[in-house]
């Protein structure tokens, strides 16, 4: 099999193979990585997270399938899992599409490097598409590797024809691939036609907003859309517009139609999936073709120098000059670099998604709501995601080769640099989440409870910022990234466990403390003391720390230090 695949690959044109490999590697920004980075290992870790998710999904599916034995419950559970798996696949593909936003279109670098070479535009197009398809295909495969077999297997063992399993399996995999293709092609269509219609300069600016909007939309829809996976909800006329406008329900219907298990009265939903898929594929194909004919020329003709506005000069004070320099550098890197913007948007979208899903009821209510577990948990999680997310994004470098300027102008002790990083973390994560929580809490009463919770949240934000600064002796965005040093699997699952183990009990404790003033005072004092202790600890350690710009892998061999 291996030989056969290699033979097949060898039959492809050489220029296609070379370009495909280059474009595939661009999924990870190689310029941002440490020299000693292991890209394959890094991608393997991501695939590992998806495979682990798939195993969990399949376990839940297997247990639920046998636990919910009553016919109505059984049907609702099966439909719920089918919809959940399809919508989760769509979300992952949507996020990949947003992360590799412009990857399918030729950028200025491609045009300048490849135009003088005898490479046909269609080869570039095909290589780019093949690279994007390979990454998406890997994600679909990893995310469904276990659940994509268990679910069809369970559906296939139900009374019916002997080839039920094969039909379910084919229907499932066709559906997840079709749903992914629909999302991918829809994004390409919007991008392609926007780039054709608008001048390139305006398109590039608009593209950044479109990218963030797509991010918010995918996560917002995933978290906020109501669950309508039982016959009663599907038939309710009040839910018609939700079903008609939600692609995950169209493809859920498509799966059941292909599986032969779908009531005829809802076949209009499956028809929508077919139509949407056809339109998206046609739109993407035509916009891509037109782009490769027109946009490549436009890219070259675009002037090098684009006049800019004054920027943030009027707002340019965030403490002393070093803190201002680091804060402004962080803000500009976050807003102007696609990679950093997307990475931070991922966490922000999660923050909004969580808030939307947990506080949907309270926000829609006409009257004020009492301070609830939902408010406490959602705001705690928002703070967690925003601070931890920004800390992770700070680790992604920008223009590593330009770091020499920071090293030659390092005129202050390292504790000042740590203080500047702390200021940026507070400014860009803690303050915005606190303000958002403040806005959300306007719908809650009584006011003293809300005030105490906001104070707790502010202290929690400061504590999280201090925790993130432990060992983080670098200027944001300036240290090379070493995938593998931070074990993504370990961090991902560790974070989930800590959140479940900490957030729910903490929210329960706070809710009980809100009604007892003494308990509330103790809680605030304890948090204040913890923050103060962490601040002192970080300040003390920072005094002897060295600001570093290059991640170095941990020593595999540990010396005993016995030699003189």
């Amino acid at each position: 099999m291996h030989k056969f695949i290699h033979k097949l690959i060898d039959r492809l044109p050489l220029d296609f193979r070379i370009l495909y490999r280059q474009f595939l590697l661009r999924v990870v920004d190689l310029e941002a990585l440490s020299i000693q980075a292991d890209v394959v290992g890094f991608l393997g870790q991501f695939a590992g997270v998806l495979i682990m998710l798939s195993l969990i999904h399949s376990l839940v599916t297997y247990i639920g399938f046998w636990v919910f034995s009553a016919p109505a419950e059984h049907l609702a559970f099966c439909w719920h899992m089918e919809h959940y798996l399809i919508s989760t696949t769509m979300l992952v593909i949507g996020l990949i599409t947003v992360v590799s936003w412009d990857a399918t279109f030729p950028d200025r670098r491609d045009v300048m490097v490849l135009s003088p070479l005898p490479v046909a535009p269609h080869t570039i197009l095909l290589a780019k598409m093949a690279a994007s398809a390979a990454v998406s295909g890997l994600a679909i495969l990893a995310l469904n590797v276990a659940s994509g077999v268990i679910l069809p297997l369970l559906l296939g063992v139900q009374p019916g024809p002997a080839w039920g399993f094969i039909q379910s399996l084919a229907a499932y995999w066709f559906t997840v691939v079709a749903a992914s293709a629909f999302l991918y092609c829809s994004v390409l269509t919007i991008q392609g036609f926007t780039s054709l219609v608008l001048p390139r300069r305006i398109f590039l600016r608009l593209s950044a907003f479109l990218q963030l909007a797509a991010f918010g939309l995918f996560l917002g829809v995933y978290f906020a859309q109501p669950l309508l996976t039982d016959p009663v909800s599907l038939a309710d006329p009040r839910n018609h517009w939700v079903l008609a406008s939600s692609p995950s329900y169209w493809f859920f219907a498509l799966f059941n139609q292909l599986n032969g298990s779908w009531p005829a009265q809802f076949s209009w939903l499956a028809s929508r999936a077919w139509i949407a898929l056809g339109l998206a594929v046609t739109g993407a194909a035509s916009s891509l073709l037109l782009c490769y004919i027109h946009t490549m020329k436009k890219t070259v003709e675009e002037p090098d120098l684009v006049p800019g506005a004054g920027g943030l000069h009027c707002l340019s004070s965030f403490g002393n000059s070093l803190q201002t320099a680091v804060a402004l550098f962080s803000i500009r890197s976050l807003t102007r670099s696609r990679q950093h913007r997307v990475a931070f948007a991922f966490y922000l979208a999660f923050v909004f998604g969580l808030a939307l899903s947990l506080l949907r009821g309270e926000m829609a209510a006409a009257a004020y709501s009492p301070v609830s577990m939902d408010l406490l948990i959602s705001t705690f999680l928002m703070m967690f995601f925003a601070v931890a997310g920004l800390r992770n994004v700070f680790s992604l470098p920008i223009s590593l080769t330009a770091n020499w300027v920071l090293r030659t102008t390092q005129l202050r002790p390292s504790e000042d640099y740590v203080a500047a990083t702390r200021r940026s973390l507070l400014l860009l994560a803690v303050v915005p989440v606190w303000l958002l929580s403040f806005a959300l809490s306007l719908r809650f009463r009584p006011i003293p409870h809300v005030a105490v919770h906001l104070a707790v949240l502010a202290l929690l934000g400061c504590i999280l910022a201090e925790l993130c600064l432990i060992g983080f002796y670098k200027v944001p965005f300036t240290c090379s990234y070493l995938p593998g040093k931070a074990n993504i699997q370990l961090i991902f699952w560790g974070f989930i466990i800590v959140m479940i183990a900490f957030v729910v009990p903490a929210a329960q404790f706070e809710l009980s403390a809100l009604t007892v003033p003494l308990k509330a005072a103790f809680m605030l004092s304890a948090l204040g003391a913890l923050f103060w202790a962490l601040w002192i600890f970080n300040r003390h350690r920072a005094k002897s720390a060295v600001i570093y710009f290059e991640e170095i892998p941990d020593q595999v061999i540990t010396t005993l230090g016995l030699s003189a």
Binding site: P303, D304, L305, V306, P307, G308, A309, G310, G311, H313, S316, S321, L322, T324, A325, L328, F329, R332, S333, R336, S337, I398, S399, T401, A402, W404, V405, L406, R407, T408, T409, Q410, L411, R412, P413
Partner: protein, 254 residues
């Protein structure tokens, strides 16, 4: 005065700079010459503190630079060989950031940056992203960043790279003017004609070793050669350049 004493740098055991000693004095422009890979930029990076040296000492004003690296960096301005900048910032933003990192008073640095942007003809494009700047414009940004704090020690690694004729002439005069005002200027370049015009002394490096350290006048008389180019060719160029050019043309033709 900047003084290098027996400075060496090895990369994985391979010497890039081998036992180099020389000094650059205030009021003089010291030319630092050598073919590609001779160790010029490595020396410059050791002087700036960007890379550690394997052996030897670097002294500024008679004190080892590592004694008080922060104070040393306050007095140093550096233009690197390659115009690596944060390209997502505009020219004005980059220079303001450097001024803030150098802890210059906002009003003073603002006036200086603005004035230098005007003098280097960058003022109209100061708010444009550096990613759109030409190589010459980037070089000008580097020069402004290196000089804005009025450094005592100026390290210039190929400062003329990408500059147009007018800007090159301005820079040539500027380097001489700065030296005349008592600055220590160490200037590395491949443009021997320019070096000959502005440098009082030259240090020539070949395969990481020092092969000449003297005034241009003395080198001329010692080696009985009329130009710096001929001196340099004799000391640091091993190949027969014409024969090599012929071989390349033959190879393309084959």
């Amino acid at each position: 005065m900047l003084e290098l004493r027996n400075v060496s740098k090895r990369f994985s055991g391979i010497p890039a700079v081998d036992d180099v000693s020389f000094s650059a004095r205030p009021g003089e422009v010291t030319g630092y010459l050598g073919p590609n890979g001779s160790g010029k930029s490595t020396t410059m990076k050791m002087i700036t503190g960007l890379i550690e040296r394997s052996a030897g000492h670097i002294l500024f004003e008679g004190k080892p630079i590592e004694g008080d690296l922060i104070a040393y960096k306050r007095h140093m301005g550096y233009v690197p060989e390659e115009p690596y900048l944060y390209t997502h910032l505009s020219g004005a933003e980059y220079l303001t950031m450097v001024a803030q990192l150098r802890d210059l008073p906002a009003r003073q640095s603002g006036a200086r940056v603005d004035g230098m942007l005007r003098l280097f003809s960058l003022h109209d494009d100061r708010h444009a992203s550096i990613s759109g700047y030409s190589k010459g414009m980037r070089q000008k940004v580097l020069l402004i960043a290196a000089l804005m704090h009025n450094p005592q020690l100026i390290l210039l690694d190929e400062p003329f790279s990408g500059l147009d004729v007018a800007s090159s002439l301005v820079l040539r005069s500027l380097i001489q003017e700065l030296a005349a005002r008592g600055k220590v200027v160490l200037f590395s370049s491949h443009e021997l004609d320019t070096v000959e015009r502005i440098c009082s002394r030259v240090v020539i490096l070949h395969h990481g070793k020092l092969v000449a350290d003297d005034s241009i006048e003395r080198l001329r008389s010692l080696m009985e050669l009329p130009t710096l180019e001929q001196i340099f060719s004799q000391l640091a160029v091993e190949q027969d350049t014409e024969s090599m050019a012929r071989q390349i043309a033959d190879l393309i033709h084959a």
